[in-house]
């Protein structure tokens, strides 16, 4: 099993190397003539006003939180799915319970309009 992951590791190194080699090649080939106008922030030709890193909608954060909950749930589903054939009907009952509680949470979020974009 570890040899499989050795391949994944080698593959990751190759996957990092290719774009780096490509960028080095481009670095050798491409012209370099920077000027202040070229290097300014692109905003369709208008001078940029104020700081970019301004406060964002909190709504995005709420989606990310709900996502974390369901992502963890998915991580629980997979081992259960792999073992399911070896298990009795109680496995089904337990998963129905597990999913029903989460669906309840989703319904709550839905009713509280946490899923709506304001």
């Amino acid at each position: 099993m570890l040899s499989q992951y050795a391949f994944i590791g080698v593959f990751a190194i190759v996957a990092f190397a290719l774009p780096i080699i490509g960028l080095l090649m481009a670095w050798l080939l491409r012209p370099k003539k920077p000027n202040p106008a070229k290097n300014s922030t692109y905003e369709c030709g208008v001078e940029t006003i104020g700081d970019t890193w301004v406060q964002f909608k909190a709504q995005y954060y709420l989606y990310a939180l709900i996502f974390v909950v369901f992502d963890v749930e998915a991580a629980f589903v997979f081992p259960w799915a792999v073992a399911y054939n070896k298990l009795g009907v109680y496995a089904l009952v337990e998963m129905v319970l597990f999913v029903a509680i989460l669906l309840g949470g989703l319904l709550y979020a839905w009713r509280k309009q946490a899923l709506d974009w304001h």
């Binding site: 570890l2 998915a74 792999v82």
Partner: protein, 162 residues
């Protein structure tokens, strides 16, 4: 070879963790944190715990790190590297952090952890799934409740601010 890899991952994890704490730019320290998660995933793989490794990346890199980056981006002032590094609670926090570290270190070193000798089971994931609905059925369901409680709490807090 495995020892070399372990030390490599350990150095990556610890080095990145030190960068997380010392980097002045908050978003960059969130990115270093992602490297920490990858290092830990590598250590899980070395322990033959491939499922934990993949979940580590799926949940921590994919979800938790994104959540942290969102949180950093949503808070305006902390982003500024010119803000002072410490506030007046720094000393209290440092004390509690040291205490927590000592407690954890004592637990890790003093408890006789059960260690299995021999190769890891081939169908470890299947075993995990069986344990979820068998001996650990109650924690499994409680996890679901906990997740929903966390979600409801987050929604209530977010609603309050509007």
């Amino acid at each position: 070879m495995q020892h070399v890899m372990f030390f490599l991952f350990a150095i990556i994890t610890l080095g990145a963790a030190i960068m997380v704490v010392t980097t002045r730019n908050l978003l960059r320290s969130a990115l270093w944190l992602i490297l920490v998660f990858f290092g830990i995933a590598g250590i899980f793989v070395l322990l033959n715990a491939e499922f934990l490794a993949v979940v580590q990346i799926l949940v921590y890199v994919g979800a938790i790190a994104t959540l942290i980056i969102f949180a950093v981006m949503l808070t305006r002032q902390v982003m500024d590297p010119k803000q002072p590094r410490f506030n007046d609670q720094a000393r209290v926090v440092a004390g509690f952090a040291t205490l927590l570290f000592v407690v954890l270190a004592v637990i890790v070193t003093r408890v006789a952890w059960p260690v299995a000798i021999g190769a890891a089971p081939v169908d470890a994931i299947q075993q995990l799934g069986m344990d979820f609905v068998g001996p650990y059925a109650v924690p499994f369901e409680v996890a679901s409740v906990l997740l929903v409680v966390a979600m409801i709490g987050a929604i209530i807090i977010a609603r309050e601010h509007e």
